[in-house]
Amino acid sequence: MMGRSISRRQFLRTSAALGAGGTTAWVRGAPSAGAAVKLTAVSAMVAEAEVAWEKEVQQKWNRANPDASWERENIGWEGIFEKVLAYEKAGSPPNLGYGWTGFTADWHQMGIIDAPEDHLGKPWKERFADYLTASGGDVINGKLWVVPIQAAAYGLVSRRDWLREVGVDPYSIQTWDQLVEAMAKVARAKRNKPFGLPLGNAWNAGEKTEWFFRGNGLQNQADFDPAKRANYVAVLETLKRLRPFIPDDALAQDYTGHRQAFATGVAGFISIGDYYFGEIYPTAKKLMTREQVVIIPYPSGSRGPGKPFSNFDMNCYYMMAHAKDKEKTAKLIDFLTSRENLLRWSLAHPPLKQWTVDEAVKHRLYGEAERWWLEDVQAIASKVPMLPSIGFVAKNEVQQVYYEHLLRVFDGKMTAAAAYDAMKEKIPALVKAAGG
């Protein structure tokens, strides 16, 4: 059979015709003004419980709202910044972004988020009244800038059985001295380095040592109030005292590795808070029992609250300021934050007023298996002060500076006081330059 040849001219004509045809079809296929709306969300759901929740509420929403279907894009925590920024730059921001309290100051500073209460009113905001504070990282200028999905109460998730072996009552660890002493006892008995800390990168190291600052009268790592110099230095010195109980491998660990260290039994004490259960239970069910694990409130420093404490933050959606269809986005936010949907969220605890353990286990993914954990969390929350995480701008860059100096203190290349003085030259300037 002979193949039919084609001349260059014929090829060009055919290509042009196909191109023109395709363009026409594409233009005709573009949605018209009156068509159904598509709402979009870029989120960072990672754990089984998060992914399942978002999928479930999406299906519910889309069934009830065919005229405003919701498309979600789940890209994990690593890429969330650049994805949202890329959409923003391209002029097509998603209706909802996703993050946590740590993002709020920066995103607010960039002017890319809206306060949902401006669209949904005070009654909507009142749903979260227990978590609204004047100083918390999600409230800026009196307005709540997030769509709360999860409240997390933080503490040291600890191996109760290890502490029992060395005769330490978990709740007796109330000061940093007692913490160091308990770590020394466990390390001797178990012949390990039991204190887990993800020191592989700046943001994880920064987040997981944040509580030392709250626990010693400071707002955060960017608090360089000259009157509190001794507080800051004491934080660095305490971390240095804990270094012998932190495995060297922590210097290569990110958040996931740090969590795995606990799940595999090589670390026995990690600062992670109550969302630990939902993250670890699916892969380490046998470990998550009251006999083996306990969440203890953070011990405080000598210049801190003077007694154990917990701090809290929120995982949240953000209402993106430059997205279209604000009215329908507000309706979606109202739906996502309904009591029923928030009770279905199965990490940490619902950011609602007056939730009960009975109510939660009825709705949540892991049901009765989580009862003991939620009871413990509620008990802590009712007994110790709950301090809000306080945000600051230029967080990532500040954390990098802090992290590099912390490692120098760990390596013995700098004293805590010298590290403070060096950081004092850099961090306040970074915050100021960012408009903080």
Partner: protein
């Protein structure tokens, strides 16, 4: 006089006119490719250079741009961490290229011979290249874990190590570990090319040399290596460029840590732009990276051409 003025095209011979028409058509056919290249190469390149001359800091105004000339470059030059970033980049580029090349060349020489199951072994050697780099790096991160990684387990079990080593945080083992993963993931590309080069060398040359009394080393230095030279030159050039811009392996394994101990320029561009929100400064570091790549390419090509 006007009667004698003739259109130049009519004076051209028919063959020339045909050639010219073909040339025009040829260029027209190139237009789509040029448009695509312009869109995905030239425009981003222009944008990167342009942005590097501006202060674009998202925290002081989303996408607000202020012209600051070369200040971003000066800032990098004055950064006390800059020597570490540059040294890390050098270690990664030189170490990565050298380790991949040595593994690839050794395997190409071995598998280029007539050995049993040659096709099977060659196929096996290509497998690492078929795996997505992020998957490779994640698997190695697990293998190298200092607390529950299988490498420590095996080495302690067989008595090579007395205690577990923290491969990715130890100042001694950090770079060798990274380079080992890099070599594992990247050698197949060099291997394939070197293997085809080795197989392309006429057998008669080796036979003749052997008759003249040449041994194995002489065959390698006098025949194999000189005849592989064009392939090696291209591969080394490509490898340096690939390593200069490589991001995924380093990011997944160490995120540039501990501290900045494994931060090369490529992850630094990412962190500066998308973690610190300093797009202008990030672009400047990107341009420095591109400049380094260009300078190396030009110098290397001139050297290779000179030697040829």
């Amino acid at each position: 006089m006007a009667d004698h003025v003739v259109s130049p095209s009519l004076t051209l011979p028919r063959r020339t006119r045909t050639r010219r028409r073909e040339a025009v058509q040829g260029y027209l056919c190139l237009v789509p490719v040029l448009l695509v290249l312009g869109f995905v190469v030239a425009w981003p390149l222009y944008e990167a250079v342009r942005m590097s001359l501006y202060d674009i800091y998202l925290l002081t105004g989303f996408l607000k741009e202020t012209f600051i000339g070369l200040q971003n470059y000066v800032r990098f030059a004055q950064d006390p961490n800059a020597p570490t970033y540059l040294l890390n980049t050098l270690i990664y580029v030189v170490g990565g290229t050298a380790s991949q090349f040595l593994v690839a060349l050794t395997l190409a020489l071995v598998l280029g011979r007539r050995i049993a199951f040659a096709a099977f072994w060659r196929g096996l050697a290509i497998i690492p290249w078929a795996m997505p780099i992020t998957v490779t790096a994640m698997v190695w991160k697990w293998i190298l874990n200092g607390q529950w990684g299988i490498l420590n387990y095996v080495l302690v079990k067989v008595g090579i190590l007395g205690e577990y080593v923290s491969w990715l945080s130890s100042p001694v083992w950090l770079w060798p570990s990274i380079l080992m993963v890099n070599a594992w993931a990247g050698f197949p590309f060099m291997f394939i090319n070197l293997l085809s080069g080795v197989q392309g060398i006429p057998r008669e040359l080796y036979d003749a040399a052997r008759i003249d009394g040449a041994g194995g080393a002489a065959l390698f230095w006098r025949i194999t290596l000189p005849l592989l030279r064009p392939v090696i030159a291209t591969l080394l050039l490509l490898s340096v460029i690939i390593h200069l811009r490589e991001f995924a392996t380093l990011w997944v394994l160490t995120s540039g840590g501990p501290g900045i101990r494994s931060t090369t320029l490529s992850p630094l561009v990412y962190v500066t732009s998308f973690r610190y929100f300093r797009l202008g400064y990030g672009a400047a570091i990107g341009v420095i990276l591109m400049g380094a790549s260009l300078v190396f390419t030009v110098l290397y090509l001139r050297r290779v051409r000179f030697e040829a």
